[in-house]
């Protein structure tokens, strides 16, 4: 294949997968709605989603996905035509098949074996069989009723419902013109505009005065029409809506109207936003240099000139900050989607395990960097599955201890300063410290008799190699352990904490910094080399005189706040030669429940740095999390202090 063809194909597949993702989001929403109550509208929307997925998959040659989507679509079609009624097994089969379809498409994306579909296809078949859906019969398409220019009956019901809620109904007419289109005013943007002031009940093209085409909108909107007055110049006229036929005050249909998907969304590749953030980071650094140069130039240029330069510089600084915040905001998406995935997983798992579990979430509108969503999804799914499998007890057991029969899993998201905190709580059996401790002792990770606090428990269960499950469980994949979660959180420069009470439940908190690309760092010198240390991890900096250091069981320690602070020397961890200086500094960092002091020779200052990853395997080293530079292209290594303290424990 020629390169241009390869690229076209790759871009096309990106489009395909992205579009499938969007459809699956909509599918999940729809299925959850169907679970609370059946609605024809929702079933129709679901049908359309699977119909589209079928067509697309066929076009890119994924016949397995096409076949499966076809099966699902057939069932949904039968539902919407009233040939079958939605039953509990039917709903379960729908959900299961949606999942298998998603997995099938995902399997193509990551090139893993395609899951078996025979079982699910059979189930779908059973649901529809016995209903002979006469497709060959010419039937009118779902949305047409008589003349296409009158609002169909369902819409009239919607109008009645909206009026009941206190909205006023308007008829707006938009006449497209080339001049307007040039100004960016076209039917899509007009529709958006209307969507912002109310709910569009109906939209259709109409021909008036024999050959002019206009678009008519029926809008449930504000009580007063003043807002529309200024729109005349944009080709939009308005008047209160009066139906041409008398409206029957019939039964109000149950309108679970999912919002019209706005067509004003631009799909952007995350890598482009990464590049933007990178460039902004470089701007920040360049700006910092400029500041320094300006300061040193003060003596050399006329004061008036210098003051003007400073003012302009300050303005640029403000603009730069706004720009940076703006780009960061572009990358932000609400965590709601993440919560929905968890919701889905909880429902499925609790059904399989025959446990009754309620899922609730708060703070779904909190926004999080899209990159973080991708990275935290799997670890969170893992924790949620753990909560259902190992946290929530069986209904019998719960009844025995006087707990409500349904278990409860709560997820919360909140923004705290420059971080987001995600909480997963369950009201299950809590984490049994005793079990952890004895297992850890068996594995040699702690000394027998050592007592454990919540933070220590977390460290132990996140440590690789730790699992409380038997070998069989590990083989089935469930024992992979919290190590994966711990690692993922660390890679995102986040922190994981745990509160648990045996018998009452557990809460896990994941704290993630919102800004990944830029970080506040301390610059330090160790053994003649300059390193950067993320400032957020350093709790305190202490000056240490070498004669105040004592040796205890082969560890160097100093007195610290009525306790002791063990010291960690990078020269030992990195095996570099180093002269020990007479006096030095200790960067105080948390290690589990304790604190540790990382020895540095000199402090060089604080700076905002752009963090670059060290992705190539040749460069990967424990204790180094990335690299940055200060404006002159000399790479400065970024230390991973948490990992360094852990390395020290092992030596």
């Amino acid at each position: 294949m020629a390169d241009s063809e390869k690229k076209f194909f790759a871009d096309l597949m990106d489009d395909y997968f992205a579009e499938c993702d969007e459809h699956f989001s909509a599918v999940r929403r729809g299925l959850l709605l169907l679970e609370t109550s059946y609605s024809k509208q929702v079933a129709e929307d679901l049908f359309r989603s699977f119909h589209t997925l079928k067509g697309l998959s066929g076009m890119v040659g994924y016949s397995e996905a096409e076949q499966l989507a076809h099966g699902i679509e057939s069932y949904l079609r039968a539902l919407t035509k009233g040939l079958v009624v939605l039953s509990q097994p039917g709903l379960e089969t729908l959900m299961a098949s949606a999942k298998v379809l998603e997995q099938t498409i995902a399997a193509h994306r990551v090139k893993t074996p395609i899951p078996d579909r025979q079982q699910i296809l059979k189930s779908l078949d059973c649901l529809v069989s016995g209903q002979i859906v006469e497709e060959i019969r010419s039937q009118p398409a779902p949305t047409s009723t008589g003349s296409i220019e009158d609002p169909p009956p369902e819409k009239l019901e919607q109008i009645i419902a909206a009026r009941k809620k206190g909205a006023e109904i308007w008829r707006l007419v938009f006449k497209p013109e080339a001049a307007l289109a040039e100004r960016g005013i076209n039917v899509n943007t007009v529709r958006e505009r209307l969507g912002q002031v109310g709910e569009i009940i109906h939209a259709m093209p109409k021909v008036v005065e024999n050959d002019k085409v206009v678009f008519e909108f029926i809008l449930a909107g504000p009580k007063q029409g003043q807002i529309f007055e200024s729109w005349e110049s944009d080709g939009i006229s308005f008047e209160p809506f009066t139906p041409s036929k008398p409206m029957e005050t019939g039964v109000v249909a149950d309108t679970l109207s999912l919002r019209l998907t706005p067509s004003n969304i631009v799909r952007v590749e995350l890598s482009r936003l990464d590049d933007l953030m990178q460039k902004i980071g470089e701007l920040v650094i360049g700006k910092a240099r400029l500041n320094e140069l300006l300061n040193s130039a003060e003596a050399e240029i006329p004061h008036g000139v210098w003051r003007n330069l400073q003012e302009t510089n300050a303005e640029m600084e403000k603009t730069l900050r706004t720009l940076r915040e703006g780009v960061m905001r572009v990358r932000m998406v609400p965590v709601y989607d993440l919560f929905e995935r968890m919701h889905f997983a909880v429902r499925e798992l609790s059904r399989i395990q025959k446990k009754n579990v309620i899922f609730e979430s708060f703070g779904g509108e909190t926004e999080i960097d899209k990159y973080l969503v991708e990275k935290i999804m799997d670890p969170m799914l893992h924790m949620v599955r753990n909560a259902v499998s190992h946290g929530i007890e069986s209904p019998e057991k719960r009844a025995g201890t006087g707990k409500p029969l349904e278990g409860r899993i709560t997820m919360r998201a909140s923004a705290v300063a420059e971080s987001i905190v995600l909480e997963i709580s369950d009201d299950g059996r809590g984490i049994d410290a005793e079990k952890i401790r004895s297992r850890a002792a068996t594995l040699g990770q702690i000394k027998p008799g050592e007592s454990l606090e919540s933070m220590d428990i977390l460290e132990i269960i996140c440590g690789s190699g730790f699992t409380t499950l038997t070998r069989a469980d590990v083989a089935s994949g469930r024992g992979v352990g919290m190590a994966v979660v711990g690692k993922a959180v660390e890679e995102l420069s986040g922190s994981l904490s745990l509160e648990t009470e045996p018998g009452r439940g557990s809460s896990f908190f994941i704290k993630l910094p919102l800004s990944l690309a830029l970080e506040r760092a301390l610059l330090v010198e160790v053994c003649g080399r300059i390193f950067a240390v993320p400032a957020s991890i350093v709790e305190e900096i202490v000056e240490i005189k070498s004669d105040s250091v004592t040796l205890f069981e082969n560890n160097e320690i100093v007195a610290y706040h009525k306790s002791v602070l063990p010291l960690v020397r990078l020269s030992e961890l990195f095996r570099v030669d180093c002269d020990r200086t007479a006096d030095f500094y200790g960067l105080v960092v948390r290690s589990g429940k304790n604190r540790v002091g990382i020895v540095v020779d000199r402090l060089l200052g604080q700076k905002e740095i752009v963090v670059h990853g060290l992705s190539d395997p040749l460069l990967q080293t424990p204790g180094i999390s990335g690299v940055t530079e200060l404006g002159d292209r000399t790479p400065i290594l970024i230390l991973d202090l948490k990992e360094l303290t852990r390395m020290r424990k092992r030596t």
């Binding site: 079928k54 890119v60 497709e135 060959i136 019969r137 009118p140 047409s144 019209l260």
Partner: protein
């Protein structure tokens, strides 16, 4: 230069179609992602052919088709509708509503190009 309007709510499909038609001489493609936008484009510019997906939210392809057939201004433009396997009802309905031809997904780029060229040459 002949101008073709590609109407489909799926960006992936539009990309595939436009690229498949790139090889044809003297042809230019424009895109619309929904029925109303398609009608607007047909009002504001001249087109020689419309490729219309049937299964679109908000305004179904069949409604777009009927609108076009109902008005003298648009009646003469050939329309190829894109249907999916097993959707016989819509296909028949489309032909009854004035579609010039139909193509069933999945179709290959040469199939699409061949159909387009044939229809463009007929006029």
């Amino acid at each position: 230069m002949k101008v073709v309007l590609v109407v489909d709510d799926s960006a992936t499909m539009r990309r595939m179609i436009v690229t498949s038609l790139r090889e044809i001489q003297d042809i230019r493609c424009e895109e619309a992602s929904n029925g109303m936008e398609a009608v607007e484009k047909l009002v504001l510019e001249q087109y020689d052919l419309v490729l219309l997906d049937l299964n679109m939210p908000d305004m179904h392809g069949l409604d777009v088709l009927r609108f076009l057939q109902a008005h003298a201004r648009f009646r003469g433009i050939p329309v190829i509708v894109l249907t999916t396997r097993g959707d016989e009802a819509s296909r028949v309905e489309a032909l009854n509503s004035g579609a010039t031809a139909y193509l069933t997904k999945p179709f290959s780029p040469p199939e699409l190009a061949g159909c387009v060229v044939e229809l463009l040459n007929k006029n």
